[in-house]
Amino acid sequence: MAAAGKIDPMHQFTIAPIGSDQLTASPFQFTNSALWMLIVLAVIVLFMLGGTKRQLVPGRWQAAVEYLTGFLDNVTTQSIGAEGRKYLPWVFTAFVFILVSNWIGAMPFGIVPAAHPFTVTSQFTVTGTMSIISFAIVLGVGFWRHGLHFFSLFVPHGTPLPLKFIVAPIEFVSFMVRPFSLGLRPFIAMFAGHILLDVFGNFVVQGLNAGGAVGYGVSFLAFAFVVFVGALELLVGAIQAFVFALLTALYINDAVNLH
């Protein structure tokens, strides 16, 4: 892509069938997004299989898996309470999927030609679908447990009557915005980070091509920045996965315990 002087940071988010450049009219295509989702799944399955041997004295691998499951168990039980463990499967799934796809998308596999990693979570269709699942769980649990009483979620306890007419619409809007904000967060974080990496990666190449003291200087600075942003990207990927899991648990807590 990027010819001299022309940076195209959006190209990396193109979804296309393997070995082709653009989507065709057929609805069934094995795209790069699907391929990398399968790779993410394989990594997760391998990681979990390696750690669930149930040894009495856990090895390093099992300790890592146990730390992960214990950490998320902690998140759900602290947010939701004693019955939080019922909702652990979805929170765990969402956290691990977002975490692993964020990290795999940031790996420098591109050194091997044509092995560019595709960050699955940089597409709003993926994170949006996950947030809709979270929202559906909240609605389902809320209406299942409380029936129409679930609507009292919009009116906090002890609100004076005149204020109720103001508070209820505000609470309703803030409730309905949740699926968008929940899905937008991991998507934009990955999207913005990868645009930044692409732009500064292009600065490195163009600085080297330009040559001279200025060219090499710019190239070196941009390279240092790319290393820094790459490290930051790993941190941001973990934080966004954690925030998604935490907010999902909090929203489920709203549905389980009301206010």
Binding site: M10, R185, A192, I239, L246, L247
Partner: protein, 75 residues
């Protein structure tokens, strides 16, 4: 002014919001550190609250970024 230049200028103005969110995120973590250093024993239990505040402050910056990208690449 033609559409392309207006798009670039508008995207630049919209990106100011990202900086504002940076102030907000810095304020969240700064306040947390202030509190945590005064009472380190209570800090560990509050990391969940910290990240909720972080998420709320950061979301507005991400929204600004999304708006700026939409302005820049909308046809």
């Amino acid at each position: 002014m033609d559409l392309a230049s207006a798009q670039v200028i508008g995207a630049g103005i919209a990106a100011i919001g990202v900086g504002a969110a940076g102030v907000g995120v810095g304020f969240v973590f700064g306040s947390f550190l202030q509190g945590a250093l005064r009472n380190p024993a209570a800090a560990g239990g509050q990391t969940g609250t910290l990240y909720i505040g972080f998420a709320a402050a950061e979301l507005l910056g991400l929204m600004a970024f999304a708006v700026s990208m939409i302005i820049l690449y909308a046809r």
